[in-house]
């Protein structure tokens, strides 16, 4: 018998099949043994010991090798049954032809990732049609030896495959650790975490839910599919109560039952906990493909559970810190730093798409006096109310900001001067209707008015600085003309021009309400 090396058995694996793949290996073995011993067919069965079944995996006949799913039982006492029982080669002859059964035990690497191997009992059947001669003893011995030589090479292939798996795992551990660490610094950190998991594990779906403690809800965040496409699942809200939903039960540690047992092979529910406190739930599943999640993958993902939870929690904290640094706690309006960034973006957009951009600059009248007379607590209340009124009157695309002290700027994309004026009127009116109680004072309550200047791009100004300047000019005009009013820069400019033309009559104190 000629012993071939593994490379000789597989000079060029078919495209689409990894070298060393078990199927490709058996394909080579069946084709070679058929040719070498002049067979009419050869089949490879896995022996399901638990159910006493032979599972056909691969068959070679009439020059074609094919995988096939067929689960059959050997007849008790038949040649096949004897071969499995004695673990020795057995020949037999029947109406179907002559058969030689060769039992083998393959040692698979433990799919759970443990260092042990799992024995897999199998049977190879060599076949000759009824019209042809049967298998002689010496031919049977040769065929067995021939196939055993393949088996030795099989282990080399198995080793190579195992080695590749370890390489992949080490790469995954290194790179995922990096992903979870950098998730702190990226803006869209949840996306980063989910796409990291999908890149290395490739589940049918990964979903992230976070606990909203305040509202006692489990809220959907993001979902990533097998193609790595990520979408928001913020529409999913689950009450965090026992019995309300399976996910809620899992987070609350109350889940059990047949359904969970049935799901365990293709779904992993991973509660995310930081310092003993559950902050969310990560769900990975292979429900669409119904493929088992390899125990090794499960173990690895579980070992990352702590890091994922920490990364998610840190991202949330990071967002909170960012919120604190970008928003004014009192008015809940964005601060000047944030405004500067958004102003650039909005101005660029308006310029590029040739759309109007209005700027409303408001100032709370006599705010310094309020502070001095009634104290900072009352001043803070005034600011709070002003913030509330503004936030409740804006469109989604508008951007307000506490620009400093009692000055508030609102950017109104795609709005004309008249539209900005209407908003300013609404804000003034609503704030004017607010009564702020003032204890220990004869006035009992305080009413607040606003002075507002409005300028627009491109009508009033062509640059960012110029737009700010023109809105400030309009505001100054209102303040210098009795406060509690609204002025559009275009009108202020027209008034100023008229006054200048009239020879400076306005300089003599003839104020005109705009």
């Amino acid at each position: 018998m000629i012993k071939k090396s593994v490379n000789e058995h597989f000079p060029s694996p078919l495209p689409g099949e990894a070298f060393g793949d078990r199927g490709a290996f058996m394909r080579g073995a069946l084709e070679a043994v058929t040719g070498e011993f002049g067979l009419d067919g050869a089949s490879f069965y896995e022996h399901d010991l638990k159910n006493g079944l032979l599972r056909l995996r691969l068959r070679h006949v009439a020059g074609v090798t094919f995988e096939h799913q067929e689960n059959l039982r050997p007849v008790p006492g038949s040649a096949a049954a004897r071969a499995l029982e004695t673990q020795g080669r057995t020949a037999g002859k029947g109406s179907g032809g002559s058969f030689l059964y060769l039992p083998f035990t393959f040692e698979f690497c433990d799919p759970s990732g443990a260092r042990a191997t799992v024995p897999c009992s199998s049977l190879i059947r060599l076949e000759r049609s009824p019209r042809r001669r049967g298998f002689t003893a010496s031919e049977s011995a040769k065929a067995e030896a021939y196939l055993r030589s393949y088996l030795r090479d099989y282990y080399k292939a198995e080793f190579l495959s195992l080695n590749r798996k370890y390489d992949k795992n080490i790469a995954a551990i290194t790179e995922l650790t990096e992903v979870f660490a950098t998730a702190l610094r990226v803006r869209d950190s949840f996306r980063h975490i989910l796409s990291g998991i999908q890149t290395y594990f490739g589940f049918d779906r990964v979903r992230l839910y976070l606990i909203d403690e305040k509202n006692r809800k489990l809220k959907g965040e993001l979902s990533a599919d097998i193609r790595g496409q990520i979408k928001s699942i913020s529409y999913e809200e689950i009450p965090l109560e026992a019995g309300a939903h399976r996910f809620a039960d899992i987070v609350l540690g109350r889940s059990s039952g047949a359904f969970m047992e049935r799901y365990k092979d293709c779904v992993l529910y991973m509660p995310l906990a930081v310092q003993g406190v559950t902050i969310g739930l990560l769900i990975v599943d292979n429900l669409l493909s119904q493929q088992k999640i390899e125990p090794q993958e499960l173990a690895m993902l579980k070992s990352f559970g702590g890091q994922i939870a920490l990364a998610v929690d840190n991202s949330r904290l990071f967002d909170k810190v960012e919120e604190l640094s970008l928003y004014d706690e009192l008015t809940k309006l964005p601060l000047r730093r944030y405004f500067n960034q958004r102003y650039q973006e909005e101005f660029y957009r308006a310029e590029r798409f040739k759309q109007p951009l209005a700027m409303v600059w408001a100032d709370i009248d006599y705010f310094k006096e309020v502070n001095d007379t009634y104290g900072h607590q009352i001043g803070d209340k005034v600011l709070k109310e002003a913030g509330r009124v503004i936030l409740s009157n804006l469109r989604k695309i508008d951007f307000p900001c506490r620009y400093g002290g009692d000055e508030i700027i609102i950017l109104l994309p795609q709005a004309t001067g008249e539209e900005a004026r209407r908003l300013a009127q609404r804000l003034s009116q609503e704030l004017n209707e607010v009564r702020i109680p003032v204890p220990f004072s004869s006035a009992k309550e305080l009413r607040v008015t606003l002075s507002i200047g409005v300028a627009t791009f491109p009508g009033d100004a062509a640059t960012m600085d110029s737009l700010l300047e023109k809105a400030d000019d309009a505001l100054y005009w209102v303040k210098s003309h009795g406060r509690a009013g609204i002025a559009l820069y275009s009108e202020v400019a027209a008034e100023k021009a008229k006054a200048a033309a009239a020879g400076g009559e306005a300089k003599n104190g003839d104020t005109t309400k705009v």
Partner: protein
């Protein structure tokens, strides 16, 4: 170019494809084409393995798929649109019942091309029915009539291997393809008509599955057949009835006659179609599409399907084949108003869920500890899972 072909219980299909590819290579000597025969399970796993890690798990350029995998695979981005490449698709040269599921989304795109089809039917040997069935056409029209006839058939003397019923396409356990024709016969199904909920637990569906399983429980069919392992499929001469979706080899020699599947007296019923698709990762989309176009040509598809007792899908070839059939009248009834399995995203997974349930039940039947409650429990669980899938996809 690499082609993945679905494996078949009838080895003649693999040989027919090998011959087809031989003719293709002779016609186009510069085109290099190879094929690998994959089981349905292995094909499914390979497709998902590619989605998980495309670099390590390359796809073939052309794949054969059950027609109702098209929607799922196209949504997962695995298939290319064939409509611009194939005139037969653009001109819709297929029977209406195929077009209905092919252009399911009516998006003006077709991600697979119908290749061949098969229809489950009942074959019987008049000689074996003597004394048991007087008027086969009438008595075997209903499931109940067929079931009663099975009980009446007696094995002939000195024929120990004789069985009243044989199912040549059996994979050992009760399978989805075994039970669904009967489920359809009872007007059941796996999903409601609007596909908003699973209906595994509907009376008609349970009844259909139960009808088939009863054949196994009562010993009319043998699950995980030991004889089959030793001698292969039961020869037609050794049985009275055969349920098969293919024209059987040597049917005339064995004196076999044919009738529609019991329970469809007016014909019609479930029909299975298999399509060719070009994968989106095919290295040469043009060449792969050209091969599909060539394989679908009336003569090529006709010879290939004839090779293993199936029918080509292309209308002219299909009609010619039906005209040539000895049992033309029965086939006309079979194809009068057939239904294909729905081409919706979760259907292939739903079939897997049902298959798993049937596997567990088959084992119980063989062990002798099957109870109808087991079937109800399994189908309730499978329905829950299918409903959950519907909510996700």
């Amino acid at each position: 170019m690499l082609i993945w072909l679905l494996s078949d219980h009838d080895h003649r299909k693999h040989v027919a494809f090998k011959n087809l590819l031989g003719r293709f290579s002779a016609a186009y000597p510069d085109a290099r084409a190879e094929f690998v025969v994959k089981s349905r399970k292995s094909m499914w796993e390979s497709l998902f393995a590619h989605l998980r890690d495309p670099k390590r798990n390359q796809l073939a350029d052309v794949i054969e798929i059950p027609q109702n995998w098209t929607e799922l695979l196209s949504r997962l981005g695995l298939l290319s649109d064939l409509l611009p490449h194939l005139d037969c698709l653009a001109q819709r040269r297929f029977p209406e019942f195929i077009l209905k599921e092919l252009f399911y989304n009516d998006e003006g795109r077709a991600f697979s091309a119908p290749w061949w089809l098969e229809a489950p039917a009942l074959f019987y040997r008049p000689q074996a029915l003597k004394g048991a069935v007087a008027d086969p056409e009438k008595e075997l029209a209903t499931w109940e009539g067929f079931r009663a006839a099975l009980d009446r058939v007696k094995p002939p003397p000195r024929r120990p291997a004789f069985r009243a019923l044989s199912v040549p396409g059996s994979s050992g356990a009760a399978a989805v393809t075994d039970v669904l024709p009967r489920v359809w016969g009872r007007r059941g199904g796996l999903f409601s008509e609007d596909y908003n909920r699973a209906t595994f637990n509907r009376e008609e569906t349970i009844g259909g599955v139960d009808d088939w399983l009863e054949l196994a429980v009562s010993g009319k069919i043998e699950l995980f057949s030991a004889e089959r392992f030793e001698t292969g499929p039961q020869p037609a001469e050794d049985c009275a009835f055969m349920i098969s979706s293919r024209k059987l080899q040597g049917a005339s020699r064995a004196g076999l006659r044919m009738l529609p599947y019991p329970g469809y007296p007016s014909g019609g019923g479930l029909l299975l179609a298999y399509n060719l698709a070009v994968t989106s990762s095919a290295r040469d989309q043009g060449a792969a599409s050209a091969f599909v176009g060539w394989a679908l040509e009336p003569r090529n598809a006709g010879v290939f399907a004839e090779g293993f007792g199936a029918f080509p899908c292309l209308k002219p070839a299909f009609e010619e084949r039906v005209r040539e059939e000895k049992e033309e009248e029965v086939y006309r009834r079979l194809f009068a108003a057939p239904e294909l399995m729905p081409n919706i995203m979760v259907y292939p997974t739903a079939e897997l869920l049902l298959q798993r349930a049937l596997w567990r039940i088959s084992l119980k039947i063989v062990r002798g500890d099957f109870d109808r409650e087991d079937l109800l429990r399994e189908l309730i669980m499978a329905q829950g899972e299918a409903d959950y899938l519907l909510s996700l996809y």
